[in-house]
């Protein structure tokens, strides 16, 4: 017997699909033999296949064969050996802040979960009690989910800060610094630690120093999003320079870490919110409040992925192997960047293409406009985001010519 009364949900509207997943879906449904997926941000080998890191395979075998392990609940804040080793990766194992016992962490569901926990905490306790008016600044452009994470946490004022200079295809430093100078005190700034998503454009060290100076002076909160450590340059320490610099200046800050890309553990949801507080006492109270937030969201985090990372990071041999695996990925991306630029230049494609190799990390902001993107997708079956963002990992030695030609056509035929 089916209920015939008016449904309580009869007015629930159909929500638009999340763009990046819709793109993948369209790609999957496309029958064109030479289709290319330059959409969602996951690493691919030169065969265009997902890559489970060799060190991860090794560690998973260790775990599955260890009869002393079980599936019991992790503590609310997560696996302790994961949390501490993950924070060390971000801050460096010689970090004075770690030494001073003022660094803590919350194991979270991926980078998204870490951002979520940090956002929920800040909304409750930062800049007063439950001050939903504190402005949260995200870069223009930024990862599309940043907006929703902070607004869903209750922040009512999520705003863009100037970042990408479309005309010069680089960082709009003056605009960025201007927003830092002009914003309300105590505003929260979401900073990409490295390999900015989607532009691939990072501040130089000197530029980071300028940014930090203003933020310190104007009492702005630094919330780093670190989803690509190791993946950007191939070097963990290099990619963490900005985060560590801020710590060295004495900022109390958050760093949301993801191990989705650099460990290839996408679907195990491995993330860590690293918290740097003024001292151990403050840290303790922050963590106690984090527990309450975790408890009403997911109670305690998933164990499998965190175990893989913890085992790897805590074994010198496995840690070295991991760094090599990460470098393999980063190097392939760098190679594809170089080769794409070379092809576009040799095709004589109008415009400058230096940005392809100046930019860093998984993504490149090609500069293609929406019409050109539409051409790429519909006519050439090369799938990329409407913003012109491409995932370099989608390029292979087999498809790079086709992609370069397609870009050439799009730029020359479509305004």
């Amino acid at each position: 017997m089916v209920c015939t009364a008016m449904s309580l949900f009869h007015e629930v509207p159909q929500a638009a699909p999340v763009a990046v997943f819709k793109l993948s879906q369209d790609f999957n449904n496309d029958q064109f033999p030479n289709k290319v997926n330059l959409g969602v941000g996951a690493y691919r080998t030169d065969e265009g296949k997902p890559w489970v890191l060799p060190v991860v395979k090794k560690v998973e075998k260790i775990i599955v064969n260890d009869d002393t392990l079980n599936h019991e609940y992790l503590p609310i804040l997560g696996l302790p050996e994961f949390r501490s080793s993950a924070s060390m990766i971000a801050l460096g194992d010689d970090s004075p802040a770690i030494h001073d016992n003022r660094v803590g962490a919350v194991q979270c569901l991926g980078g998204t979960g870490a951002l979520k926990m940090g956002a929920e905490f800040l909304r409750r306790f930062y800049n007063g009690n439950n001050n939903t008016n504190t402005p949260v600044y995200v870069s223009a452009p930024t990862w599309e989910n940043h907006n929703a994470v902070f607004s869903n946490a209750g922040f009512e004022d999520v705003r863009p800060y100037k970042y990408w200079d479309a005309e010069n295809r680089g960082l709009d430093l003056a605009g960025f610094l201007g927003d830092l100078e002009g914003c309300p005190e105590h505003s929260i700034f979401v900073l990409h630690a490295c390999a900015h998503n989607p532009t691939g454009t990072d501040p130089t060290r000197e530029q980071w120093m300028q940014i930090a100076e203003v933020m310190m002076r104007r009492r702005l909160f630094a919330f780093f999003d670190s989803a690509y450590q190791g993946f950007a340059s191939g070097d963990l320490d290099k990619d963490a320079w900005a985060v560590r610099y801020f710590v060295s200046l004495g900022f109390e800050m958050f760093c949301a870490q993801s191990f989705s890309k650099n460990f290839g553990l996408y679907n195990e949801r491995v993330g860590n919110l690293t918290i740097v507080a003024r001292d151990a006492n403050n840290l303790k109270r922050v963590l106690s409040q984090m527990e309450k937030i975790v408890r009403t969201t997911w109670s305690n985090p998933p164990s499998q992925g965190a175990r893989v990372v913890a085992v790897t990071l805590n074994s010198p041999v496995l840690f070295t192997e991991w760094k090599e695996n990460v470098k393999t990925m980063a190097d392939r991306v760098l190679l594809m960047r170089a080769q794409l630029k070379a092809r576009l230049q040799s095709l004589g494609t109008p415009g400058t293409w230096e940005h392809i190799t100046d930019q860093i990390g998984m993504f490149s902001f090609t500069g293609l406009n929406p019409n050109q993107v539409e051409y790429m997708v519909k006519e050439k079956h090369v799938y990329l985001m409407a913003s012109g963002r491409i995932n370099m990992c989608g390029l292979t030695t087999r498809n790079i010519d086709y992609v370069a030609e397609s870009i050439h056509e799009a730029v020359t035929r479509i305004q």
């Binding site: 017997m1 089916v2 209920c3 009364a5 449904s7 309580l8 949900f9 009869h10 007015e11 629930v12 159909q14 929500a15 638009a16 699909p17 999340v18 969602v40 997902p50 489970v52 991860v56 395979k57 599955v64 079980n70 599936h71 019991e72 609940y73 503590p75 569901l109 998204t112 979960g113 979520k116 306790f125 930062y126 989910n145 929703a148 994470v149 869903n152 105590h186 009492r219 553990l265 996408y266 679907n267 949801r269 507080a277 003024r278 403050n282 303790k284 922050v286 106690s288 527990e291 309450k292 408890r295 009403t296 969201t297 997911w298 109670s299 985090p301 998933p302 164990s303 499998q304 992925g305």
Partner: protein, 401 residues
């Protein structure tokens, strides 16, 4: 710099805090009857054989680790809904349910609460049984709902306050949300009988209430998965379009893998598509997409005939051990010379037992006997073994005589 120095220390979690105190105790006879995780008769965590076999099968497949869809592993959500509703349920064949994979039971309740908060046109009030799982209240409150209660547990009988429940439910304003524990009520272990469920269904229908079932113990209560899902299936049959949270933490022992499902039974498939699209919008800014490992294990078990059979046996085994411990505890209390009526310990079902102990008695039990439990007198039966049930009986007798 405007720091966080004014902020206070948060209180320890009442349930998980018990385990932490237990760990610090050095008494060799200590017992942890706090958190609800199953233990075997040696007091050890129990990894089900079907889980180990499923893990081996999965490892052999060398699968990749690509992101799951926002709503989770499709094979999992299908199997999850089938388990709850029964494979032949009309809801499934008409496709009018949307089931998403969630972060175990907590994550499921939270998504449901967020969904109600955003879309429920009726009142913001969620009615919980009195008492209910301690985490229900903060979950719904954090999501922006308001909590109210209906009578449920009768302390004078340590049983179900059927009349009180019906009276209270009959006064709940229309279009409010009522949360029901599908089986093995947490914390009391007191479940309505089938005839009582029928009357509850009638009155809920009369009051036009939206039903939210929390089913965290399917299979674990009676040992029979269909029996434990009876109330859920009956309500659907009676025309309630329910919300349902499922957890695989206990019945598959997958606690730390965080395996759960959230279902909305909709009017038709078109509505379910709209609801699905909105659930994705809710999930994405929390954790983007759910973890694979546990869902794969659960799916492999449910969809591999030999493993499913093995699982049903093992779940039956866990439930039986608990039933045996209930019987042995009562026998032990009688043997110790207790004159109280302990029948409720046997009548109650599932992992938990509401002993009827008062806070002062609980405190004594903890301080003098190193028996750790929550202040409300709730004990986790799973923490009892044939080796320590006698000690527990003595302790309870000592603080209640």
């Amino acid at each position: 710099m405007r720091g966080l120095s004014w902020m206070q220390m948060g209180p320890p979690d009442p349930i998980l805090g018990v385990t932490e105190a237990f760990k610090r105790d050095t008494n060799p006879k200590k017992m942890n009857l706090g958190v609800g995780a199953y233990r075997d008769d040696k007091g050890k965590p129990f990894v089900l054989s079907c889980v180990r076999k499923a893990e081996a099968l999965i490892a052999a497949k060398q699968l990749d680790k690509e992101y799951l869809p926002i709503g989770g592993l499709g094979d999992f959500t299908k199997a999850c809904a089938q388990l709850a509703l029964g494979a032949n349920n009309e809801v499934l064949s008409s496709g009018r349910n949307i089931t998403v994979q969630t972060i175990s039971g907590t994550g499921s309740l939270r998504i449901g609460a967020n969904f109600l908060s955003r879309f429920h046109g009726g009142s913001r009030d969620v009615y919980l049984p009195k008492p209910s799982w301690g985490n229900h209240t903060p979950i719904f409150r954090d999501a922006g709902m308001q909590l109210k209660a209906y009578r449920y547990y009768d302390p004078s009988t340590c049983g179900f306050d059927f009349r009180g429940a019906l009276e209270d439910i009959s006064k709940i304003p229309e279009q409010s949300v009522i949360l029901l524990h599908a089986c093995a009520h947490n914390p009391t272990g007191v479940d309505p009988k089938q005839e009582q469920w029928k009357e509850i269904s009638d009155i809920v229908k009369k009051r036009n209430l939206l039903v939210f079932f929390d089913m965290a113990y399917q299979g674990f209560a009676s040992g029979d998965i269909d029996r434990d899902a009876w109330a859920v299936r009956y309500f659907i049959e009676q025309g309630h379009n329910i919300l349902l949270s499922q957890s695989f933490a206990k019945n598959m022992g997958l606690y730390g893998e965080r395996v759960g499902g959230f279902t909305v039974v909709c009017k038709d498939i078109e509505e379910s598509k709209r609801v699905e699209s909105q659930l994705k919008i809710l999930i994405r800014p929390i954790y983007s997409n759910p973890p694979m490992n546990g869902a794969r294990i659960a799916t492999t078990i449910l969809n591999t005939p030999e493993l499913r059979l093995l699982w049903l046996e093992e779940v039956h085994g866990m439930a039986n051990r608990i039933i045996k411990m209930r019987e042995q505890l009562v026998a032990g209390l009688k043997k110790s010379g207790s004159s109280h009526n302990w029948q409720h310990v046997i009548d109650q079902i599932g992992m938990f037992c509401f002993t009827g102990l008062k806070p002062e008695q609980v405190e004594r039990l903890t301080k003098e006997f190193s028996v750790y439990m929550t202040k409300d007198g709730r004990i986790s039966m799973a923490g009892i073994s044939s080796g320590n049930v006698g000690y527990l009986a003595e302790g309870i007798h000592a603080v209640t005589k």
